[in-house]
């Protein structure tokens, strides 16, 4: 699966429009993921996962920053996320299926906050982008 020029352009434009809301979107993505897919909470036994948790907000900020970084270096996502990829392989070892769940929730957050942004074309490009990010983060697993 390869990101076309149109995909890259769509993704950059989408993150441009999301702008300063990225952190908020990151936090809500995690909140929704924990609510919709409770099994994802197993990776955060050390977190307070109650609504409004500062830890979830903080972690959402990190997740969003990584997505923004990937979008800003969309021609070399594996380079941009190389350290994160190492971290996930060696330490975090989040099962690969969970990246799709996070991606689904991110798209839901975009849809709820900014439905006009999520045209079918942009939806397709973002979905591909999120897949690509998941692939990079699990690339060194074995």
């Amino acid at each position: 699966m390869v990101l076309s020029a149109a995909d890259k352009s769509n993704v950059k434009a989408a993150f441009g429009k999301i702008g300063g809301h990225a952190e908020e979107y990151g936090a809500e993505t995690l909140e929704r993921m924990f609510a919709a897919y409770p099994q994802t909470k197993t990776y955060f036994p050390h977190f307070d996962l109650a609504k409004g948790s500062a830890q979830v907000k903080g972690h959402g900020k990190k997740v969003a920053a990584a997505l923004v970084e990937a979008a800003n270096h969309i021609d070399d996502i594996s380079g941009a996320l190389s350290k994160l990829s190492d971290l996930h392989a060696q330490k975090l070892r989040v099962d690969p299926v969970n990246f799709k769940l996070l991606g689904q929730c991110f798209l839901v957050v975009v849809a709820t906050h900014n439905p006009a942004l999520l045209t079918p074309e942009v939806h397709a490009s973002l979905d591909k982008f999120l897949c690509a990010v998941g692939t990079v983060l699990t690339a060194k697993y074995r």
């Binding site: 929704r32 929730c105 839901v108 849809a111 709820t112 439905p115 079918p120 074309e121 397709a124």
Partner: protein
């Protein structure tokens, strides 16, 4: 049998009550064909699917999307017996239509996104949980009679 809490049933019913089956059905199917283009393999007789614009405007896509979501309504009406409700449809999808059940999961996720876009903040995390559960149960029921 799947267990639904009273809250889940209420969240499902309240969303469903406000859904335009024709609009959401058409949009969900169109997005499936656009976001996951390999799903077009089942619709070679639908005419022009050559671009997102063509897919969105395609009357066969719209009609079929409406049909699919109308059928989804049967699950909403029969939450306590979704497997039974879809028994014949499951056989049809296996024996006649030859649809990989993975496609039901893909469509379910797309439907959740369409609902999210439609309802905005009203599509709360609790709401999303109930609907992700429902689309999962529907997908499972449609795959149940596969052999």
């Amino acid at each position: 049998m799947v267990h639904w809490t009273a809250e889940e049933k209420q969240l499902i019913a309240s969303v469903w009550g406000k859904v335009s089956v024709e609009e959401c059905g058409a949009e969900a199917l169109a997005r499936l064909l656009i976001v996951y283009p390999w799903t077009q393999r089942f619709f070679s007789n639908f005419g022009n699917l050559s671009s997102p614009t063509a897919i969105i405007g395609n009357p066969k896509v719209r009609a079929h999307g409406k049909k699919v979501l109308t059928s989804f309504g049967e699950a909403v009406k029969n939450l306590d017996n979704i497997k039974g409700t879809y028994s014949k449809l499951s056989e049809l999808h296996c024996e006649k239509l030859h649809v990989d059940p993975e496609n039901f999961r893909l469509l379910g996720d797309i439907l959740v996104i369409v609902l999210a876009a439609h309802f905005g903040r009203d599509f709360t995390p609790a709401c999303q949980f109930a609907w992700q559960k429902l689309v999962g149960v529907v997908a499972h029921a449609l795959a149940h009679k596969y052999h």
